[in-house]
């Protein structure tokens, strides 16, 4: 059938299984929005307050569901407002398709009103991008974009569609949803070598990243750990892949990782890294990382093998196939001494956990969240101290429940991402944020209220940019340069009410528990303004450039 380019976009999205899109209309996507209007009963469009919020929502939607997130924006400022959201998805390998309008092709290159070269701008922050020159190729390019976004190591793809392509007509034939390109199969000789290496070592540590969630390899990870008697640690992106209470799981490792997890990775004689890129935040000083350990690195992206940490055996390919083959080849092992050592580390870790009774501390906030949430509750975060406290103390039972910006560390990610996660899963979602991050994109409160998104916002309000302040305390002689927010005088309860949401203040553990209970039993949007001391630290901490041995476990300098 003959359709306009705008209609082809919408029909192709629907054909690819897209049910929800996030976006913001504008001059160069008017035709596209007209097509969305016509197809309103078949596709759900969510209007955000800002294109950045829409991009983060598409990202959070994807992280929570595993589906490809879709965001739409107009040309010029609409497109540039997506940039942070696209970069966030790129750094965390989130499958996303961003669609932008542009001025008609005869106005391209003339600095026309709201014209911007968004394919040029997003070149280094997309897995691939397209500028559409021919309406006859539009549907296939969109299909290819979906295929690239979800194949191998996923990532964002942008399609820039000039207005004349949206109004031109072409034949459209529906197609089935595209399948990802087949995953590369791991080299069996490498698997043999990895298995032999595993059998020869006695202190194995499995380090997992977001790739374990993307490839749904969590059960194979624990099966391997059980068979070879290994412990498991993770990067921020790997959180929720393995249940927090799994007996072999030590939690996140690295700059603000769990003491036992970081120390065990340091003391191991074998690191099996799965679906992770050895980010500097996970390893600390690379030259001193796991000095006694041999490294096996399994990843779908061949460019990650030996990029940051040199692998003794690099296995590139489908993680599930690699793990299955490896499990079948390794011998069952018992490493009593290693397990005893890890047990000692865990006990030591507990001794560092100090919590002041009666005071609303980060630990008590997270404990209450753990008691109130269900196994299916997505927990989104922003970026900063609250994010690290959530990473350390929130307990997860199922994968895809921790929604957090790891690689880019995007403050302002949380509101959009939480809305996306709630829309995608239909679950009441909890956003843990700070007053710094929340201030960046709090405008999305109106989106959550408009679409009746079940959302609890736990605002950890300490009146400062806490993470930067912590560094200023430790390394910059208490020079609190531009990190005080207490002069802002924002009344968050009134703010929530102004947006049509509900707000509470919590100054004590009891007040927080009561507010959280009310929030969780409501279907609407609730904000809880939790008053936290401004000198709470995230501990442990590896000092910048430091190795695991330099770990700071006790608060100092305050």
């Amino acid at each position: 059938m003959k359709l306009t380019g705008a209609q082809i976009v919408v029909e192709t999205l629907i054909e690819q299984g897209v049910t929800d899109v996030f976006g913001y209309p504008g001059g160069q996507v008017l035709n596209l929005y007209d097509a969305i209007y016509e197809a309103g009963d078949r596709i759900n469009h969510i209007l955000t307050a800002h294109e950045q919020g829409a991009a983060h929502a598409a990202d959070g939607y994807s992280r929570a569901t595993g589906k490809v997130g879709v965001v739409i924006a107009t040309s010029g400022p609409g497109a540039t407002n997506l940039v942070t959201g696209i970069a966030t998805a790129m750094l965390d390998s989130v499958p996303m398709v961003a669609i932008t309008g542009n001025v008609p092709q005869d106005l391209i290159g003339r600095d026309s009103f709201q014209e911007i070269d968004i394919t040029g701008i997003t070149l280094p922050i997309t897995k691939h991008n397209y500028f559409i020159h021919d309406v006859n190729k539009l549907a296939d390019k969109i299909r290819e974009a979906f295929r690239i976004a979800k194949s191998g190591r996923p990532g964002p793809v942008l399609i820039d569609i000039p207005k004349d392509i949206q109004t031109a007509t072409a034949e459209y034939e529906p197609c089935a949803p595209v399948e990802p390109f087949p995953n590369r199969m791991p080299d069996m000789e490498k698997i043999e070598r990895a298995a032999a290496l595993i059998d020869s070592r006695s202190r194995p540590f499995i380090h997992i990243g977001g790739g374990v969630i993307g490839s749904r390899a969590w059960d194979l990870v624990t099966e391997l750990a059980d068979k070879i008697d290994a412990v498991i640690g993770c990067s921020l992106m790997g959180i929720s892949a393995v249940p927090t209470d799994h007996p072999r799981f030590l939690g996140m490792q690295g700059m603000h990782g769990h003491y036992a997890s970081s120390m065990a990775s340091n003391d191991a004689d074998l690191i099996i890294a799965i679906g992770t890129r050895f980010s500097d935040r996970a390893t600390g000083n690379k030259a001193k990382f796991a000095r006694d350990a041999r490294i096996i690195h399994i990843d779908i992206d061949f460019a990650e093998i030996s990029k940051n940490i040199t692998a003794d055996v690099g296995v590139c390919g489908d993680i599930c196939v690699a793990l299955r083959e490896m499990i079948d080849r390794v011998h069952e092992a018992n490493h009593m001494d290693w397990m005893d050592h890890v047990e000692d580390l865990r006990e030591k870790e507990l001794s560092f956990l100090v919590d002041e009774p009666g005071v609303l501390t980060p630990l008590k906030v997270m404990d209450a969240v753990n008691r109130r949430k269900s196994a299916d509750t997505p927990v989104a975060t922003d970026v900063g101290q609250h994010q690290m406290w959530a990473a350390q103390y929130v307990r997860f039972q199922k994968p895809r429940k921790m929604i957090s910006s790891g690689g880019l560390g995007t403050m302002g990610f949380g509101m959009g991402a939480a809305i996306g996660a709630a829309v995608g899963t239909g679950e009441h979602t909890i956003l843990i944020t700070g007053d710094g991050s929340f201030g960046m994109n709090l405008n999305e409160l109106c989106t959550a209220v408009t679409y009746h998104v079940p959302l609890t916002i736990v605002l950890m309000n300490n009146g400062v940019l806490g993470m930067v302040r912590q560094w200023q305390t430790l390394f910059f002689n208490h020079h609190y340069a531009d990190t005080n927010l207490d002069t802002r005088r924002t009344d968050y309860v009134k703010l929530a009410e102004a947006f049509g949401a509900v707000g509470y203040v919590a100054k004590t553990p009891g007040e927080f528990e009561a507010a959280l209970e009310k929030a969780q039993s409501s279907d609407g949007v609730t904000l809880i303004d939790c008053r936290i001391d401004k000198d709470e630290f995230v501990l442990p901490m590896l000092p910048p450039g430091g190795a695991i041995d330099d770990i700071i476990t006790v608060k100092k300098g305050v």
């Binding site: 070149l123 280094p124 061949f302 460019a303 030996s306 990029k307």
Partner: protein
């Protein structure tokens, strides 16, 4: 990874002959913090492909990273590392030299040694053309520098693998 530092190497890249592909390749170098020494691009025996020849220097890590990162780009069809011993490398240079009667004899002897051609002659200047390996071009330039170079233009290296194979038949490095 433990190879000697900053070897020069040549990478041949077969890419789809499409809008913006060269930018994708070069932008990746900027993004990963690598420097290109020379870059040439042109159509190939098949009109749907272009061949990019990149010369850069770096250690074994840089070399492996570059090959991997280029291979990840979607419009890239083939990537081949051309080791100096296995490759034929050529470069062309045009040099404009001051036309000074006192220089004539020295210019002609230089042209003779390097098998260069005079391709344009005017009262003020001579323009010469030389093809050869990058080393030969360097040596030529050194030799004629004292004669007064007005300006010069080098093409950058083009290279092919020796023998009967083609890049399209080459194995992927990974």
């Amino acid at each position: 990874m433990g190879e000697k530092k900053n070897d020069k190497f040549v990478i041949a890249v077969y890419v789809e002959n499409k809008f913006g592909v060269l930018t994708r390749v070069t932008s990746m170098f900027t993004r990963r913090g690598f420097n290109i020494d020379s870059l040439t691009v042109g159509v190939t025996e098949s009109p749907e492909y272009s061949r990019i020849t990149i010369t850069m220097s770096g250690d074994g890590y840089a070399r492996a990273q570059m090959l991997n990162q280029i291979r990840k780009l979607f419009n890239v069809k083939k990537v081949e590392l051309l080791e100096e011993v296995d490759a034929i490398e050529r470069e062309l240079v045009l040099v404009k030299i001051k036309n000074n009667p006192d220089n004539h004899q020295r210019v002609l002897s230089a042209l003779d040694i390097f098998k260069a051609k005079i391709i344009n002659y005017s009262v003020e200047a001579l323009c010469i053309e030389v093809t050869g390996t990058p080393d030969k071009i360097d040596a030529l330039i050194e030799m004629i520098k004292p004669l007064g170079i007005i300006e010069l233009c080098r093409t950058g290296i083009v290279a092919l693998q020796k023998g009967g194979g083609s890049i399209m038949e080459s194995d992927d490095v990974n």
